[in-house]
Symmetry: C2
Subunit: 187 residues, 2 copies
DNA sequence: TTCCGTGGAGAACGATCGTTCTCCGCCTGT
DNA sequence: ACAGGCGGAGAACGATCGTTCTCCACGGAA
């Protein structure tokens, strides 16, 4: 088994466990068992739990970004690409493993204690807002549309997580349609 | 010092500390010191930490509901009352102590482990959606407006918390204006 | 075969947490 | 003045966590 393969397995397992139970509720021993590696190997790959947490955040960022972009690129027009964001959310919310945005959750859990986690969450959200900004610019919308749609997407994530339903995706999508229409009309 | 006064002080102190540092990061000893009560008195009033957490959630729900309604009632028209929700958020986000919605945070921290916390968070959000629903109904808006505005408010909270700025309140308010206008026009 | 190094399983360690217990000073009633 | 009990401070306890250490089995080189 390759070293990087071990790293990858640890991070993927940690991602699942942290998402399902929360970061603080998952001990190193549970992670060790679930990933099927020895404790020595675990600490050979990562110097501490917090470094695993950061690696998980990077992994989440990559998965999220790639998954979102894949859905968005399937849409034909710029306007449909903006709406595709909410289709991606809808698919995500329906998964059994969905328990809210991992960045919001890790920020809530550790943001006040770990500046690294807080900053990474901030950067992730910033990058999402920039991504929406590009899509909005391609649609010819004014600059204020992107934050509006970003806020809708954030709200849909927390609403769906806490309510335990995926309704919020469709509601947010309909709101987005209205906002896009208004912004394009004003431009 | 009255018994209920002790309870109130414990809950108020716990609310501050849990909000500032996260629930799991605040031990009973720290709470004891900050509240200025003896450990014996603490366990005389509450049987366990989790019961304190639930009391804090109830306290938060009351504060939030009363504060929101006070701001909303100052507005003259039904349409302005809907927008006043976001003025309330704006004032909240500007406070130094603001670190995101306490229910979202506690759900993220303990929702997967504590069904009580998860359910209380769900009920709180549900009650907020109902509240928005009443305001929207008074404005003569169709039923779909309330979830849209609720999602905007949720998104503004997490965006403001993670970004560390209060911009999201104004952006959400402007989006709300558009959504309200569209919904009232359609009705 | 023998020796050595690598890696796995899990015990051990120190810290911390929630919770309980002990001890002691103080206040009150007579 | 004195006995008795109440309450506060904090030690103690058991559990758990992150991290390190110990011990041993195994496999390749001479």
């Amino acid at each position: 088994m390759d070293n990087s393969e071990v790293r990858q397995r640890i991070v993927a397992t940690a991602d699942e466990l942290y998402n399902a139970k929360g970061i603080q509720a998952v001990g190193m021993d549970e992670l060790r068992s679930a990933a099927g590696v020895s404790l020595k190997k675990l600490y050979g790959e990562f110097p501490s739990k917090s470094s695993i947490v950061m690696a998980v955040l990077e992994h989440r960022h990559q998965s999220w970004t790639e998954g979102l972009d894949a859905t968005v690129q399937q849409a034909g027009t710029p306007r449909e690409r903006l709406l595709a964001i909410f289709d991606y959310l809808a698919g995500w919310f329906c998964q059994d493993s969905f328990r809210g945005c991992g960045f919001i959750n890790s920020f809530a859990e550790l943001g006040a204690v770990s500046p690294d986690v807080a900053e990474y969450a901030r950067k992730h959200k910033e990058s999402f807002q920039e991504y929406v900004g590009h899509l909005a610019a391609e649609a010819g919308a004014p600059a204020y549309l992107a934050p509006q749609l970003s806020i809708l997407a954030e709200g849909a994530q927390t609403t769906a997580a806490i309510a335990g339903t995926s309704d919020a995706a469709g509601q947010a999508r309909q709101a987005a349609e209205v906002l896009i229409e208004a912004a394009l009309g004003a431009a």
